[in-house]
Symmetry: C2
Subunit: 205 residues, 2 copies
């Protein structure tokens, strides 16, 4: 089994990511998908077993990396006395922005936003079981830094922040980079913007 970026499996995953982002999981057919990837129709069922398993692999490929980066950034600051709310938000947001701005994977946040809108139980269970611990760790750290909030209020505000960030990062084009700033600088500015908004919301009186 080869894993080069031009292997059949990777070509399918990349095409699937784009078409799922654009047309949804139901809206993108395996025939469009395999045509875009330049592979045979049967290749999806041969390599992944079914369309549902392909959808899971699309998530797994990006979320494994994204959440590893998030957890690494969080573990560097969690529990430290000098850690600020902005630090924790940066640990959550910046890995996602890096993913969004890479040449490949720039459409993945849109796929993720669709997964939020889908209240499909199977998909939610898959995401919760495999990646729920990341949200729990971040929520715990937010709670440590916001001791004045009740548990209920904390969950509420974390949910609002999640919604805002998912919505923002799935809407490309909204954030147009000006031609006189590098992509790195632009990404830093976007992160600062999101962090400032989220910190203020979490800290609301």
């Amino acid at each position: 089994m080869q894993t080069s970026p031009h292997s059949t499996k990777e070509r399918i995953l990349t095409a699937a990511e784009e078409l799922f982002a654009r047309h949804g999981f139901d809206g993108a057919s395996l025939r469009q998908l395999t045509a875009a990837a330049g592979v045979n129709l049967a290749a999806v069922n041969y390599h992944f077993g079914s369309k549902d398993r392909l959808i899971e692999e699309v998530f797994r490929r990006r979320l494994d990396q994204l959440n590893a980066h998030r957890m690494a950034a969080l573990s560097r600051i969690a529990g430290q006395p000098e850690t600020t709310l902005e630090d924790v938000l940066a640990a959550f947001i910046k890995p996602a922005l890096e993913l969004s701005h890479e040449g490949s994977g720039s459409l993945f946040m849109r796929v993720l936003a669709r997964a939020f809108a889908e209240h499909d139980d199977t998909l939610r269970k898959f995401l919760s079981e495999n990646y729920g611990h990341v949200m729990r760790q971040f929520t715990a750290e937010f709670g440590r830094l916001l001791p004045q909030l009740s548990k209920e209020e904390l969950y509420w505000r974390v949910d609002l922040v999640t919604g805002a960030l998912t919505h923002a990062m799935s809407g490309f084009g909204m954030i147009q980079r000006k031609s006189d700033v590098t992509e790195h600088v632009h990404r830093e500015q976007t992160a600062e913007h999101l962090i400032r908004f989220a910190a203020a919301g979490l800290n609301a009186p």
Copy 2:
């Protein structure tokens, strides 16, 4: 043509709203939909012309009322010197919460959240053409109350607020009413919660 709440058209619209919320626009078939409504399969094409036109009518039925309430509330306070950010947010949020908590229409905000996730051009164009002026009026009033923000920053923050509220209001169950408060009181408490978060985010330094 009758418009009673038990007419065929209304029964289709109500069943469509629920199934679109649960399974998406592609995921809910006309056969499920007409079976749930207790009408013949051909009734959709007879009364609405096509599935796409049915989708538009599902939006129109709720959004006409929702945006009328929003505009009425806004026009009562817009431009007034004593109007606060919280007042404008209340004019935006409370009509949506009233819709969410009515027996019928409680699933509509989930349909709306799906429409945000769908980057389908036809649907976005329909929503923008028919209801875009409401968002523009609210954004203008936000801008009047937040003169320190550049136009770019203003759009950014309004977009973040929209994402947070759509996400929050589409997730039912999250906001569980305690048995010792009336639904009216619970709605007021929820509104206060959302408004406080959004106002703090908009006012971020």
